[in-house]
Symmetry: C2
Subunit: 305 residues, 2 copies
Amino acid sequence: MARLVECIPNFSCSKEKDEATYNALVETAKSVPGCTLFDAQTDGNHNRCVFTLIGSPEAIEEVAFQLTKVATERIDMNHHKGEHKRMGATDVIPLVPQSKDVTVEECVEMSKRLGQRIWDELKVPSFLYEDSATRPERRNLATCRKGEFEGMPEKLLQPDWAPDFGERKIHPTAGIVAIGARMPLVAFNVNLATSDVEIAKKIAKVIRGSSGGFRSCKAMGFMMEDRGIAQVSMNMVNYEDTPLYVAYEMIKALAERYGTYVLDSEIVGLTPAKAMIDCAEFYLKARDFDCHNQIMEYHLLDMQG
Amino acid sequence: MARLVECIPNFSCSKEKDEATYNALVETAKSVPGCTLFDAQTDGNHNRCVFTLIGSPEAIEEVAFQLTKVATERIDMNHHKGEHKRMGATDVIPLVPQSKDVTVEECVEMSKRLGQRIWDELKVPSFLYEDSATRPERRNLATCRKGEFEGMPEKLLQPDWAPDFGERKIHPTAGIVAIGARMPLVAFNVNLATSDVEIAKKIAKVIRGSSGGFRSCKAMGFMMEDRGIAQVSMNMVNYEDTPLYVAYEMIKALAERYGTYVLDSEIVGLTPAKAMIDCAEFYLKARDFDCHNQIMEYHLLDMQG
């Protein structure tokens, strides 16, 4: 199988506000052999664009650097306005293993080499976040980004907030970047047969890791206005650590305890096949199932790799 | 995505009994660009070998013909002995769609072109079976093969048994071949918490298509001597027609009716990811899930194709 890493860099630039820079980033994303620009999204209100790149670890490491170089040269954060929180021209570089023989640990090593190179060659400092984090409070991107570009010069002088790479001051125009490895994330929402949003909020509190629930589950309770029902909205940040069926079964039990039931669920966007296949294995009680050897598509990927 | 068809031709030849012919077949299997010899199994007792090839529809059609040519030239069925039932040097050529954009119908067309060419160029007649069958009783390979090589000359003279391609007489040394398209088959066994094999047999009878159950489910009740439990052993011949969870849930209900329950299950060998993902979708009640667009691996296959 081809060894594959996904990179989803976010830049403080939009096609709507600065088409030339956006195009330069797209061109750069397409210029490195061994990786593919899978998707490019731009949002004028956020004044931000998000690329999805997939390729070999080596190609991804190279394209992430080259993109950061272009963003550093072309984007001036002193003039950036947008609804989305941001702290740098290249705001965040997530690295995600996407084939069975690439580990999160390998992506952590990539993030560290990238941070070093971005400092050495571009003089842009960085925080390591998620699984690359060097201290617990840096796992969370929002915590790293708090204060945004404008507040960073002061934040970097605080005892706990020296960058992981670089000096205690931002790049004058490109700010600072967060780089981190993580497992593929599955956005998984479970809808309840009730209009009482408090039930969804209570359930979310029980199941999310931050309040004592499942370690790799982030959850919030919402009202879905269009359907008039309450929803437990989750980010499953490591589906091997906390499988989807574990969260689902717990929600089912808690819904019953509050006098309601699960109406249906939603998988939002992309998911690795294994996050779903693990559920089939659980519900069918499949004994000794060897996902990587028994699923045809993994062999097809092997053949083509 | 690469358009992929799987072909699993069976030849009346084994490495153990005729290594030169076996090697010639392996060489031929590897000689056609655009397809890969994924697996080659040989059985001396059966005096038979089974190849698994995956490639583009065009490459698979070509390699299937070239293999049949070699088998026709080198194997004399008048001297073939083996435990497995057989009617030809090339005994059977199954064609299976293995990517989302290849249909069974397309494989049916392939099987017909192959049958015509094998008759035109090699003078080997053929039956079309499974989804390629031209009459209901020919769907079943065992029915087509009944009488084997030795009984075929007489069988072909019966009113109902003219070959689909070729005249009413076998090739003098290569016999006759069955060619057919089918969906990928999933071997799925469900184990019961009972040593009473009669319960497994009763359940099998209810769920299998041939006795009024699910159309694309073949089922038998067995005793698993090593574990001392009864098993419902199934071939799911079209997992979109009869999904795995449908068979599983029905077995669960019937087991309860007979005072027992499902202990566990087994998926034997390869399965397409979708057969499992459809189960996850069912058990998680996933609303509007679009398997081909939301599963990362399908996109990875697209990218590499």
